[in-house]
Symmetry: C2
Subunit: 383 residues, 2 copies
């Protein structure tokens, strides 16, 4: 029913009863409980859609429980707070080369960032109803354990357990997931795009989130979407995963920077700004480096589309910012290699969420979990 | 309810009522109608599972409507008749190099094969309730049109319309689908294997059928599973599809025969028998050719598993027969390239259906369509 309120935002109890098939009495009693728990608020009179008096309009409470999103990037930490309607209410981002630090050191920084966000929520007078943590690696869906994050050099880290313990999160549900999957969900929840797509985000690693018929496709154990380790050149360089010729070794952010001649120890934002500046000035090395990455990416994405027949590719992360220089070679590869492209051309779009997608998806997942099953939250809030 | 009878074969009306939640009176009236249409028969008394008298056991009628399966292979034509329980009751296969003939010539041969099967059904005293046609190309699910079959050199062929017209099939529903998808369904319906797998069949072309949670994953337009055109070597040879380095150019049956030195104009069965014989005698060229194909196949399948996190690979078609020589290099590539393989090892099995899988899947789809929605058939049968 909360989802009905989200979908029918601004409508009355009677309209929600009609839509959900519940009786008006049931809806009213549930709505009262949700108003009590500050999940729902009453607003101006609803638009009249039939005979009878106008009902009071219901809305998801903007000051209701917030979702706290955390992203442990390879070279940054990000956090954000979003409300029940999906609006970002606060955000933080810091550069941090997490590759050179131990998991314990990184997790203590994450803990500090979580405490900052919790304090801000307190200051705003809102409760944090759930937390989502995006990590650049394989997260087993059954256990929530991060099995491996090759670009961080982490193996077997119980991120949820560690953060619970370090940040005293006993009463807040914590979800841990792959950053590419969270980014794809954020893209889906924007609500303006397609319901079947592959979202590919290029950072240090390259990850894909596969969305089929409006739902995330994660595979049997949650390990799907590892496009970064799809092989594109059998004679290619060795990858952090141990195999040879993986896409991320040939089309990842660092390889683009290296080939363009901009790679050094500057912060990520400075590197990409430098590259974009050189591209704007048609610097030959930068253009060649970006086009080369686009071709490898196009080859791997052609494989994805040949296998899954997805009509849309969404470029995310750094790829979204490089999109104007990626389009042409990427589309050429797709047109040439996707056998169904004559009948079912592949659309390529760029995400507008940029590098914020994963942290927003993580926070959004926390909020959506409350909307999908509000009972635990309501029970705690009314206790 | 027919599916309940299929699942509960040998059980009584009362047991089926309990399972489906329908009343006994409803079940009895539906069962009578299905007995009238010869979809269901009564047999020996059911096993007693509770108090009260034993009910009469119900079974899917072995002499009920049969499914007619047709496969238009690149180098053979196959047909079969299967009954409602999935048993093959008759089968035919003929070599035919369909690449050198026009679509019209091939379809007239197919029509002859269909007439032979219909005559046999007549002789057996059974009706053909539906037909499934497996083709080695892209079939658009919305229209049933074969858009392209690169290895046949066909484009835009309305296989269903043509066969309806040529073989006077006005009253028989006809399904057209990709052979790799039908083969994967046949594998699934064997009922003994996993519910999440990729079935890869190596013939002249290479096709994959992706099964997720017991259902076929075909993609938005039905064009999924085109593993044959996944690129595995950017410097590889040109493919019939126009692109370079496609899996089927490097690991397809013809490339194995060519590298092994057995390729000539003999019939397909003679070629594979020759190759298997040489492999059994450890012929160096044949072993090297098969191992090379296995490595390329392993690279492409690693991509599939990295993207979809499927726990099982089923080798079908020619690959099933070559399986003993494919295992080792294939498993090596999967273990090395699948990033989740440490936590979720990929099982590789060989289909026992061999080259019959696609035609059985096509016939099975026709029969399953009747079980899923028997009304049209029952109405026609009782008219």
């Amino acid at each position: 029913m909360l989802n009905a309120i989200a979908d029918l935002s601004g409508h009355s109890r009677a309209e929600i009863a009609a839509r959900t098939g519940l009786t008006k009495a049931t809806v009213s009693s549930l709505v009262d409980r949700m108003i009590g728990a500050n999940l729902v608020v009453e607003g101006a009179a609803a638009v009249r859609t039939g005979p009878g008096r106008r009902g009071t309009a219901l809305f998801l409470a903007p000051d209701g429980p917030h979702g706290l999103g955390v992203e442990i990037g390879v070279d940054y930490l990000a956090t954000c707070l979003i409300d029940l309607t999906g609006e970002v209410r606060a955000r933080w981002i810091q550069s941090a080369d997490n590759r050179v630090l131990s998991p314990a050191r990184v997790l203590s920084r994450v803990t500090k960032a979580v405490r900052t966000a919790l304090a801000e929520a307190d200051r705003m007078g809102v409760r944090v109803g759930g937390m989502g943590v995006a990590v650049p690696g394989l997260v087993e869906s059954a256990t929530g354990i991060l099995r491996v994050a090759p670009n961080l050099g982490w193996r077997e880290v119980d991120v949820r357990g560690e953060l619970r313990r370090r940040a005293d999160l006993d009463d807040i549900p914590v979800l841990v997931g792959n950053e590419a999957n969270f980014a794809a969900l954020a893209e889906l929840w924007q609500g303006t795009g397609p319901r079947d797509f592959v979202h590919v985000s290029g950072e240090i690693g390259i990850g894909a989130g596969i969305v089929v018929d409006g739902g995330l496709f994660e595979g049997v154990s949650g390990f799907g979407g590892e496009i970064g380790h799809v092989m594109v050149d059998p004679r290619g360089p060795e990858c952090a995963c141990g195999a040879r010729g993986c896409l991320e070794r040939l089309a990842g952010q660092e390889e683009i920077y290296r080939q363009a001649g901009v790679l050094d120890d500057r912060a990520p934002e400075e590197l990409i700004t430098d590259l974009l500046d050189r591209l704007a000035h048609r610097d030959r090395r930068s253009v060649a480096a970006t086009r080369s990455a686009a071709r490898w990416l196009g080859i791997a994405l052609s494989g994805v589309v040949n296998l899954l027949d997805l009509p849309t590719v969404v470029l995310g992360g750094t790829y979204a910012r490089l999109a104007p220089w990626l389009w042409e070679p990427l589309r050429d590869e797709l047109a040439q290699r996707v056998v169904s492209s004559t009948w079912s051309p592949v659309e390529v779009t760029a995400s507008t969420l940029g590098s914020e997608a994963a942290v927003r998806g993580a926070a959004g997942s926390a909020v959506r979990a409350i909307l999908a099953d509000p009972d635990p939250y309501v029970t705690a809030a009314l206790a």
